[in-house]
């Protein structure tokens, strides 16, 4: 008996299997990694400690991107403060200079804008790297997948993987101890 979800006429998105606990998912991930698959993912209700290594993934690039965001914020503040104070509208207040020596009084705004743009970069960078926001996804066609945000764990190997073949992936996931092995179709 072959389980499938989504529109059977539509192209296959991949094959997914269910696991009952974080430990089983972790070990399944190690084996899928060692089998050489590339387009696959594990799904869990919470981030699992050490899963990046188990999947053979490097550190997220987000940190470097946020650095650029912070730099943008800092330079924005420098321009915003020196532009008007030193050039557009020089005004001597409380005997403070308007040239470079006034920089201590500029620190708070430089700091705040660095933080502000970094935070925006972190959140929107994370969303873009995750392919979010999106309204639908082939995996949502599978009813059991709803449990991924509750207490169940899943693996999905995508049809786009060079080593993918429905038959062998189903057998492979079964050999890893996956249950409810299901072929997921698109809409």
């Amino acid at each position: 008996m072959k389980n499938s979800a989504g529109n059977p006429e539509a192209p296959v998105f991949g094959v997914a299997a269910e696991f009952q606990c974080a430990r089983d998912l972790y070990h399944a991930a190690e084996k899928i990694r060692d089998a050489g698959f590339r387009r696959w993912d594990v799904f869990s209700p919470f981030p699992i400690h050490g899963m990046d290594e188990a999947m053979g993934m490097k550190r997220s690039l987000l940190g470097k991107i946020v650095f650029l965001g912070g730099l943008t914020g800092f330079l924005t503040a420098v321009t915003l403060e020196f532009g008007p104070t030193s050039f557009l509208y020089p005004l001597i207040v409380a005997g403070k200079p308007t040239n470079l020596f006034t920089v201590p009084a500029f620190f708070p705004i430089m700091f705040e804008l660095t933080i502000l743009i970094s935070a925006f970069t972190a959140v929107f960078g994370m969303l873009i790297m995750n392919g979010l926001p999106r309204l639908n996804h082939a995996l949502f066609n599978w009813d059991r997948f709803k449990k991924v945000t509750e207490d169940k764990f899943f693996v999905a190997i995508e049809a786009g993987d060079p080593k993918f073949s429905e038959r062998s992936v189903r057998d492979f996931l079964e050999s890893l101890g996956g249950t409810n092995i299901t072929t997921i179709h698109g809409d």
Binding site: P45, S60, P84, Y89, V93, P108, L116, V123, E150, D151
Partner: protein, 491 residues
């Protein structure tokens, strides 16, 4: 759980290497030994062995079930208070800022007092969500969501005052970094402009942090929803979250970065607020101790507010006591005791420097604070902030919820008095006696302030009705079975 075990820090949560080595050594003798050791090393953060499924169902049920009667009753009180606040603001805008009691010489009166009071309350939320995250204090997971929400709502209440006290609100855009109607640019070296940037950044980053934390939990509610409208609304809010590890890795990184950004941010916000005072040359304000003293006071008052709202929330939703345990309350009381003592030290140091510094104006300002016409506010502040929290040295007072709730009302009041003392006593005595005067609040002052409590509570009630008030995915992650090596004797 033995009290001795509770004292052991939770830094051992992810079984450290020494413990793994230990379990390897003992596992060959008997499995049981390691289990007992585990129980001693890390007391469970979630009581009664609650499962992941239970956490999802219970927290979501608060949002999914029929609106309880107490919610309507509470809203019946807080919504009229909110409307009172809004009508007071409408009255102020339509009539003029003179409807408040601010007048020469006390030009910053209740408005700035209330601004600093509310913004300070927000700080505990960010402390819990950011600083305790970076220091790996896993117990924070069950309180961070509600505390962050509290931060946002407190900042909303705070924002009202500086925006409205400018008098002609329609001119508030003069604060934005664009040349104003007369072609004049802002003075970027003014602490008041720093404040605009600090508070708006603080609010924005707090919203981003809070929403980022909500995404996986909104997905949980989306996946449980039965009605089509709810499914659509929560579905859109969850942004299509699927919980794949390829998402989690960026997500965790983003969360860590946000925590890292928020930590200096929260310390900077109240420092910048204190610069509003400290960079002036007014006796009683012109002190370098202000930034750390304001930050400590903010955390002190903020934790008091967290307990003020979390204790009743857990009393209403009793099973939450398995997540927000007495251990949490105990820890928060200790933080209140610590920060309250720092604040007390700052008060005494101010007095000492006023005497030791030899500036006659400074000395007169502090003499006036303690023994002048506002003596009652000064001693109320001293009692509420320094004396009352000392009860938290006793475990009895830290672990009995009714007592905790009563005692934390003192910091709540005391921190308001502190800001009032700093602002009103200093301004009411100018350098020349001809410029002396007292501040008297008007009924509009009082109704606006009382109204902000209504606004704060209304927003909080809406929050607990429509959003998960406990961070479900993080609580699941601190369960023992979330460890990918759970139950493995050898690794």
């Amino acid at each position: 759980m033995a009290s001795a075990a509770m004292e052991i820090p939770h830094s051992t949560f992810h079984i450290p290497h020494f413990f793994q080595a230990m379990s390897e050594a003992t596992a060959t003798i008997e499995e049981k030994v390691t289990d007992e050791e585990k129980a001693v090393v890390r007391p469970p953060l979630v009581l009664n062995k609650r499962t992941m499924g239970w956490i999802s169902s219970y927290i979501s049920s608060i949002v999914e079930d029929k609106t309880p009667r107490w919610w309507w009753v509470s809203m019946g009180v807080t919504v009229p208070m909110t409307l009172m606040c809004l009508s007071m603001l409408a009255y102020l805008i339509s009539t003029g800022v003179g409807v408040w009691g601010n007048n020469h010489p006390v030009g910053w009166a209740w408005d700035i007092t209330n601004f600093v009071f509310w913004i300070g309350i927000g700080h505990a939320g960010t402390l819990i969500s950011a600083i305790l995250f970076l220091t790996r204090q896993k117990w924070r997971t069950s309180i961070n969501r509600a505390a962050e929400a509290m931060t946002l709502f407190a900042v909303v209440c705070a924002g009202i005052y500086p925006a409205l006290h400018v008098g002609r609100v329609w001119m508030a855009w003069f604060l934005a970094p664009v040349p104003n109607a007369n072609g004049i640019w802002q003075n970027f070296r003014s602490p008041l402009l720093w404040d605009v940037f600090a508070v708006s950044t603080y609010f924005t980053v707090s919203v981003l942090f809070w929403y980022t934390g909500l995404i996986p939990d909104l997905a949980t509610i989306r996946d449980r929803c039965t009605s089509k409208i709810k499914k659509f609304v929560y579905g859109v809010m969850a942004l299509g979250w699927r919980g794949g590890n390829r998402q989690w890795r960026h997500y965790e990184k983003a969360y860590l970065i946000l925590a890292g950004l928020s930590t200096p941010l929260v310390l900077s916000v109240h420092s910048v607020v204190s610069f509003d005072f400290a960079t002036s040359v007014i006796p009683g304000w012109h002190t370098t101790i202000f930034p750390p003293y304001f930050v400590a006071g903010a955390i002190f008052g903020g934790f008091a507010m967290v307990l003020t709202i979390m204790i009743p929330a857990c009393a209403i939703y009793k099973p939450l006591h398995d997540l927000v345990t007495i251990n949490h309350v105990d820890k928060m009381c200790k933080i209140i005791l610590l920060t309250g003592s720092i604040v007390g030290y700052a008060y005494l140091m101010e007095l000492f420097i006023a005497w030791y510094g030899g500036n006659p104006y400074e000395r007169a300002a502090f003499w006036y604070r303690a023994f002048g016409s506002y003596w009652w506010a000064y001693w109320a502040m001293m009692f509420c902030n320094v004396v009352a929290p000392q009860l938290f040295w006793f475990k009895f007072f830290r672990t009995h919820l009714v007592w905790v709730w009563i005692i934390v009302q003192f910091p709540n009041m005391g921190m308001w008095f502190e800001r009032f003392v700093i602002i009103a006593t200093t301004l009411s005595r100018d350098f020349a006696p001809s410029a002396w005067g007292m501040f008297h609040p008007t009924w509009v002052d009082i109704c606006t302030f009382v109204g902000t409590f209504g606004l704060f509570t209304t927003l909080f009630l809406i929050f607990i009705r429509f959003l998960p008030m406990i961070c479900m995915f993080e609580v699941k992650a601190v369960l023992p079975e979330a460890d990918p090596h759970h139950g493995e004797a050898h690794h």
